[in-house]
Symmetry: C2
Subunit: 255 residues, 2 copies
Amino acid sequence: MEKQTGKKERIKSIDKALDLLEFLSVNEQETGITEISKKLHMGLSTVHRIITTLKSRGYVIQNQQTTKYRLGIKLFALGCAVQSTKRLVEITKPYLRQLSQVTNETANLAILEGKEVIYLDTIESPEILRTEIMAGTRTPAHCTALGKVLLAFISDGEFESLYKNDEPLTSLTSNSIASLEELKKHLKKVKEQGYALDREEYKIGINCIGVPIFGRNEAIAAISITGPASRFTLDKMEKVKDELITISKKISNQF
Amino acid sequence: MEKQTGKKERIKSIDKALDLLEFLSVNEQETGITEISKKLHMGLSTVHRIITTLKSRGYVIQNQQTTKYRLGIKLFALGCAVQSTKRLVEITKPYLRQLSQVTNETANLAILEGKEVIYLDTIESPEILRTEIMAGTRTPAHCTALGKVLLAFISDGEFESLYKNDEPLTSLTSNSIASLEELKKHLKKVKEQGYALDREEYKIGINCIGVPIFGRNEAIAAISITGPASRFTLDKMEKVKDELITISKKISNQF
DNA sequence: AAGAGGTTTCCGTAATATGGAAAAACAAAC
DNA sequence: GTTTGTTTTTCCATATTACGGAAACCTCTT
């Protein structure tokens, strides 16, 4: 819940509505008005009015049994209309298909949002044993090749403001990078190499190699090949590295 | 831009913000403040304030060159958090995979939104010649098997309010259903059969068969198999029909 | 330099969003 | 069935803020 301050010419009640939607978006459970009111420090009536407005337009749904609320389909529809992600998916799709075919593994596209990556698209391996991840999934950036490659190319200032010294890093597995110092050092190397590996850092049994997609002089997305560690070995990843970097350049030339 | 009226306990400025977001979502091009102001009948300052609020939180992006605006990534992130679509995709995914494998064609999942279907998920055929459609794509419901099967199970009242007598139907191809009378008759048959066909109605050269997914005593989504008309013939569709209906029931039992 | 068109800022005030209190609704316990 | 506790919904006076018109600023074209 990062509320932007400073600038005039903003509308408080809209900020509140967005706070509420964001709160619901990180809540796995349906939520009641009283809890929202407490968590967001808004009056019951205010919450009720906001939620009535959102509900009437399909942005929030109320469960008739529990009387609690969750996000509604309208947000999904709006989300699908976001041109930048649409364009990313459209342009990268043929390349993801190619990569998946050549490697017989799963190919992914993701973007960086805060300290997380969001998966935008995936082309699954036809193998029975394959990695599967749903578009829209969020994972901590520092635990994935995709995320590491994106973090490697953000500015120092941006990195500092995302990763504060006093906040510990999440570890998804015992292989995940666990300290800020280690992460910085690692990202420096990633930046030089132009690709990142994830060796069972995101999930035990899964390896991944990722490369950035550049646009407007920054890394705007990343693509990866990912597979079971038993089959997609370091050897295999090294073999596929150059192909990935080549395709990364081709895609980047389109932005 | 359907603005809900009647109920008290709603907040006008939030309605305005949602109007604006929805307006941008149907606009393929970036849009300026002046045009938004004209189209939505809001003052320039009002538009500016709304858009400044949205921009500061990533819901809208301004192109620095053109100074115009389009939807931002934050909406995509919120859209991905919508539990109902997440759950639909999660539950149907294994079945879509199975269907795609068995038929060697592309399998899709979609929902009804107004008079359109929105594609939620797709498992592509491995064939070189295959149908491809991106999650998030919207198409007129009456031109697709998915849409027809969903329309067949809405209430008469709902149908009447969606499809007014004075508004002509869109035709995507010369095979598309072109009149309301024809559509009603067709949907009646679809409802009895429990499945719908699309024989080059959505796009010349593409056939499709779809079935509904039920939940809470209504059709909440639909799944389909779709392929090139040259290969995915009426014969093939008839062959796959029973499998689709069986799987539709299995999925429906999970809601 | 002037003009046109669009975005951004400013400001007084009318409109509306606010929150507290009460009413209504609901579920659980007795 | 009654009571109690909790949550959602409604109401209302007023403080707050969202509004729109006008001006300033910016960019592009002639």
